[in-house]
């Protein structure tokens, strides 16, 4: 196949990928969008085979490895529980990163295959592009591995910080730029390997200081990086499909990071530079422990909700941890039978990745038109009888609106306190991730339900 014809086909793939993302603007068109994506991928792969025109024994191996990888991927996709989605996505990011590194290495070792020049005499632009691709790919890989370990709970979610951390990252960053410059002059393979190794190191150092609840930003950011890495390789290989896809994925991840940061009212750098509140706020909450709290049980909660005319459910990460989404749906079904109007309110940063709560609720067969975003539903709390907060904390804290001293001041929060009564399912009175006390616990209209989210919800179902 001629180079021009294959370039046109790669362009078509790129357009199909755009349509795949476009489909996600509503759940009805999303499935069709996914098929566009699959079609784009198939076209890209077939066109690549046709343009190489090498159907020797190598081709068989390629198909074999494609099949091996594909079966592993398919197996994971069918087996993975929905609650493990954040770590799955982090794991997949690491694979894209590593694949980018491998392709870059391969291009560096045999540049003539990609018509980039010869060993020791690679075109300057290609050399820069491939080392940038390799560096970002390596950062994506090791960063995603750390994110994966943290999300999976293999590594503690607490931020790991040490003195001079940011300074070291800065030095390493400049070292990479210097090495790439030096690589362009010397074409030395040792320098190329150093760039890759230092980038792996930066990826690790970049993610370890970031705490568990900031993971939505981290995952989005790594998503973005994997895109830029692909684009870097796309420039090296002069491949339109890769360039378009890289740009799409890169900007997609960047927008998601922005949305997540805005959901926490923090700047991107504030998140990346790590550790939030946990240390400096712990002391100030000590004096407040004596305040009285209203303590309820499942029967009280069932009674309150049964006699309500409308209930809003506020799920958070705790719901995911306790796997309470199915019990929650049963509770809502029972309430609906009693003629109660139920809706769900989702904060942008609820959970460990963008859209995490929505997927879990969808898994429990909650129709998506009962689930609302913060801006859509926040005014409804004033007219609602009961707010059922399950596994969320900081995102409901009214302090974000009233106390300019608070670290979460200015963060958009759900106005649960405006509803007639608040049921707060929580294991203890301990503060949330931000390390600040939630004023809501001590309000007159709040009833605390101290228990595991799933157990409590199941008990409520029984007494309904």
């Amino acid at each position: 196949m001629s180079a021009n014809l294959s370039a046109l086909f790669y362009l078509i793939s790129g357009i199909l990928f755009i349509l795949a993302l476009r489909g996600l603007s509503s759940p009805e068109t999303s499935r069709q969008g996914n098929y566009f994506g699959i079609a784009g991928m198939i076209i890209s792969i077939i066109v690549t085979f046709l343009s190489i025109e090498n159907f020797g024994p190598g081709f068989i191996y390629v198909l074999l490895f494609l099949l091996i990888g594909g079966s592993i991927g398919a197996f994971i996709a069918f087996k993975i529980p929905m609650t493990a989605m954040p770590e799955l996505v982090a794991g997949f990011h690491s694979l894209v990163g590593l694949a980018a590194v491998f392709v870059a290495i391969s291009a560096f070792l045999k540049p003539e295959v990609f018509s980039l020049g010869t060993v020791g005499n690679i075109k300057l632009a290609s050399l820069i592009e491939m080392s940038i691709g390799a560096a970002i790919g390596a950062i994506t890989f090791s960063g995603s591995i750390i994110a994966f370990l943290k999300l999976r709970g293999i590594m503690s979610g607490a931020p790991i910080t040490f003195k001079g951390q940011h300074f070291i990252n800065l030095i390493l960053g400049f070292t990479i730029i210097f090495l790439i410059y030096y690589l362009c002059i010397s074409q030395s393979s040792n320098i190329f390997w150093s760039v890759v190794i230092i980038s792996f190191l930066i990826g690790v150092l970049l993610i370890i200081p970031i705490g568990g609840a900031d993971m939505p930003v981290v995952i989005s950011m790594l998503n973005s990086y994997s895109g830029w890495a692909a684009a870097g390789i796309g420039f090296t290989l002069e491949n339109t499909a890769l360039i378009i896809t890289g740009a799409l994925v890169g900007s997609s991840g960047a927008i998601l990071s922005y949305i997540m940061c805005k959901g926490m009212n923090r700047s991107f750098f504030n998140v990346i530079l790590g550790g939030w509140g946990a240390t400096d706020q712990a002391s100030s909450s000590e004096g407040k422990e004596q305040k009285p709290v209203k303590n309820g049980n499942a029967d009280d909660a069932a009674f309150l909700m049964k006699n309500a005319s409308s209930v809003i459910i506020v799920p958070g990460y705790g719901m995911a941890v306790a796997q309470a989404q199915h019990a929650l749906r049963e509770m809502v079904d029972a309430l609906k039978k009693n003629g109660v109007k139920v809706s769900y309110a989702i904060h942008p940063v609820a959970g460990r990745m963008p859209g995490h709560m929505n997927v879990l609720l969808a898994e429990a067969n909650v129709p998506y038109d009962e689930v609302f975003e913060l801006e859509e539903i926040n005014n409804d709390f004033a007219n609602c009888d009961v707010a059922y907060v399950i596994g969320a904390n900081d995102v409901t804290n009214p302090v974000a609106k009233s106390d300019p001293q608070s670290p979460i001041y200015g963060m958009p929060v759900l106005d649960v306190e405006k509803s007639k009564s608040v049921l707060f399912v929580k294991r203890s009175l301990s503060p949330g991730y931000a390390g600040i006390d939630n004023d809501l616990f001590y309000r007159d209209n709040t009833l605390m339900l101290f228990s595991d989210a799933k157990k409590m919800t199941e008990e409520i179902v029984k007494s309904l």
């Binding site: 994506g37 390629v62 694949a99």
Partner: protein, 100 residues
């Protein structure tokens, strides 16, 4: 004077960033998780590079270092392609409207 092909690629790149920007803002927040898994799948189009790397050279040189890196990259990208698209599909199947 002739324009360097690099400039054309750069133009495609910049325009695609803009397209991505507008398309992604129109994605409904409830589908942000499938958005991440599908972007993951499509960025594995990097497999194109991996295939070229793996198929370079004749049948005698098929297991040279650079080819081996190509084969490894094929496995990684294939995991991602199949895993990414299928898990997205699985998630999207779950999004249902209220039964009327």
């Amino acid at each position: 004077m002739e324009i360097d092909p690099f400039i054309f690629r750069l133009s495609i790149f910049i325009l695609s960033i803009f397209v991505g920007y507008y398309v992604v803002w129109s994605v409904t927040p409830s589908l942000h998780t499938p958005l991440m898994s599908v972007t993951n799948a499509i960025s594995s189009v990097i497999i194109v590079g991996a295939i070229i790397a793996a198929l370079s050279g004749s049948s005698e040189t098929i297991f040279e270092t650079s080819n081996i890196f190509g084969f490894l990259a094929i496995i990684l990208a294939a995991v991602n392609i199949f895993g990414g698209f299928l898990v997205t599909q699985r998630m999207l199947q779950m999004y249902k409207k209220k039964k009327k």
